[in-house]
Amino acid sequence: MSQPMSAEDLLGAWRRMVTIREFEERLHKEMPKGQIPGFTHLYSGQEAIAVGVCDNLSLEDVIVSTHRGHGHCLAKGCDVKAMMQEIYGRAGGLCGGKGGSMHIADFSKGMLGANGIVGGGPPLATGAALAFRNLGNGRVSVGFGGDGSSNQGTVFEAMNMAVVLKVPTLFVFENNGYSENTAADYAIGAKDLASRCAAFGMPAEEGDGTDYFDVYEKTRRAVARARNGEGPSSLVFTCTRFFGHFEGDPQKYRAADEVARFRQSKDCLGRFRTRVTGEGWVRDAALDEIREEVLALIDEAVEEAMAAPMPDLATLTTDVYTRY
């Protein structure tokens, strides 16, 4: 295969994926220390999807994310340190400490919010795309969801509405195998999710969510269709998550060795490294160097977040309304 993108772009994709991985692995270590409030859902294992999708988007395109949103935020360009502060509930966080892990947003980056309601986001993606259609600005929206959200009525409605209104949006489903503690195979009645998406009247493709290049290429085609006025598409990427539904989840529903096996067989970072170095597109050392830089950045982000001031109590009731 010929090299699909420049070495610079490959290293950029690696940097984004490894940033997500190390961000999440670090949070996994920090969570038990008790300084991070609330519920946190980690994205480790799914990095190729967020990055493979968002690498097809411009700053002006928008995404709507899920409760498992750190990966989408980082892939869309959210600042590592400001995200970390938000997760620690600090004043300097992207949402001033009022959102937290499940509600990180950065509108300046086209990141319209992680969403604590499973299935809450896709209708918003349809709406964003309606705005782009009416304004004729050539932008597209992406609504991320999991296998869990794929069963929500809101998502069905959003998909049908997008087809009816022919708006430039993508519904990206990350099938990590589990809706909380319940297997996707049990909870999804259809034989396969992509065919159910296609039944709404849009192109739908299944892809390997552990293969950055597969995600990138399938998304590229769907984004091109959307920008070309051909309406919405769905993409279903299979993957796994390396941690539980939430941090602290004892994961009794998974076979004892499942995660360890999947860390070997379904690691999107490992696959990416093997591929790009094996083909001779980039060197191992370049990847390692980036990882070291990322680790240093995350060290700083955690250190700074822990030292950062809490939100001022006066902000408790600010920004409920623009004016009231």
Binding site: K98, L112, A125, L130, A131, R133
Partner: protein, 337 residues
């Protein structure tokens, strides 16, 4: 001033606003009507508020949708985040149950939850209330539930002038607004200012001034309270009638000032009584205006039952002028409780 119906005032407000602001579009079931059908296109909406909006504003701005309330509101909300000023029409307020998440957890929370990064200028328009024998699932109000939601503004127009002024204000407001248009008021007539007309949110209308009792009445109940006041006047009893116009924000000052003057309060609301706008207003006066009260507060509401179908049952369900009149008289009997 022109005399127009509540429906005509609605039409006037949206038409003027849409001519002025090209970002405004209306999404909902049959808002234009007849999409893809074999007969007439451009039905003009189920209760007829959008006559000839389709030819004037086109399909990009008059958007017929599937029957899909979550997606109607969600699509409007998403579009509001990305540069449009959408109006989501939900045909009956009873259907808010189908799209509650998009209102409660999405639109109303974005500004706060995202630390003030965005506003969400979406308007949700619903037809509300009893009076048409529409049965238990097409006759409720629902504005009390909405008033409980921080981040959302709640508008309850009682007159054609209210409709025009409040709708035009809503269409310029940066925050999510839900407007409850009472379907039993659509043919009511009243004087309405011509041209652009804006009524501020959070400013009640003192519909009538008197000395003996304050009636705070919501939506259709304003009209019934005026009828009651006419009867009471025959006995020399005069009342303040306060029409809050918006339940969120609520004009607490006008209510408290009125009760300070009259010393008595009757709250009239056609909704169910528990955790309602009526109990909210009663609590306001009990907690902040207790020293003004000469008598127990009277609440005139629907019973704690769903709205019934049979016309005689429905007439008994909806508070009427007689109930209001009797409640005022009870407050005048001093120790009414």
């Amino acid at each position: 001033m022109a005399v127009m119906t509540y429906r005509e005032a609605l039409t006037d407000a949206y038409r003027l606003s849409m001519r002025k602001d090209p970002r405004i579009c209306i999404l909902g079931e049959d808002v234009a009507g007849g999409a893809g059908a074999s007969g007439q296109r451009n039905i003009g909406g189920i209760f007829g508020p959008w006559p000839d909006f389709l030819p004037e504003f086109g399909e990009q701005r008059m958007i017929d949708t599937p029957i899909s309330e979550s997606a109607i509101v969600g699509t409007a909300v998403g579009a509001a985040l990305c540069g449009l000023r959408p109006v989501a029409e939900i045909m009956f307020s009873d259907f808010l149950g189908l799209c509650l998440d998009q209102i409660w957890n999405q639109a109303a929370k974005f500004r706060y939850m995202f630390g003030g990064q965005t506003s969400c200028p979406v308007v949700i328009r619903v037809n509300t209330g009893a009076g048409m024998s529409a049965g238990s699932q097409h006759s409720q109000t629902g504005y009390a539930m909405m008033t409980n939601i921080p981040g959302l503004k709640v508008v309850v127009p009682a007159t054609p002038a209210d409709v025009k002024g409040l709708v035009m204000t809503a269409l310029q407001d940066p925050d999510p607004v839900i407007i409850f248009d009472h379907k039993s008021l659509f043919t009511e007539k009243g004087e309405v200012p011509e041209g652009e007309f804006y009524l501020p949110f959070g400013e009640a209308d003192l519909v009538r001034e008197g000395d003996d009792c304050t009636i705070v009445a919501i939506s259709r109940m304003v009209k019934f309270s005026e009828k009651a006041a006419d009867k009471l006047a025959e006995d020399g009893i005069t009342v303040d009638i306060v029409n809050p116009r918006t339940l969120s924000p609520l004009d607490e000052e006008t209510i408290l000032e009125s009760v300070a003057h009259t010393g008595r309060l009757v709250v009239v609301d056609e909704s169910n009584p528990r955790c309602s706008a009526a109990t909210d207003i009663a609590a306001l006066v009990a907690s902040k205006g207790f020293s003004s009260l000469k008598a127990a507060i009277e609440l005139v509401t629907a019973p704690h039952s769903p709205p019934p179908f049979a016309p005689n049952l429905e007439r008994a369900y909806v508070p009427g002028p007689k109930h209001i009149e009797a409640a005022v008289r009870r407050t005048l009997q001093g120790r009414n409780r």
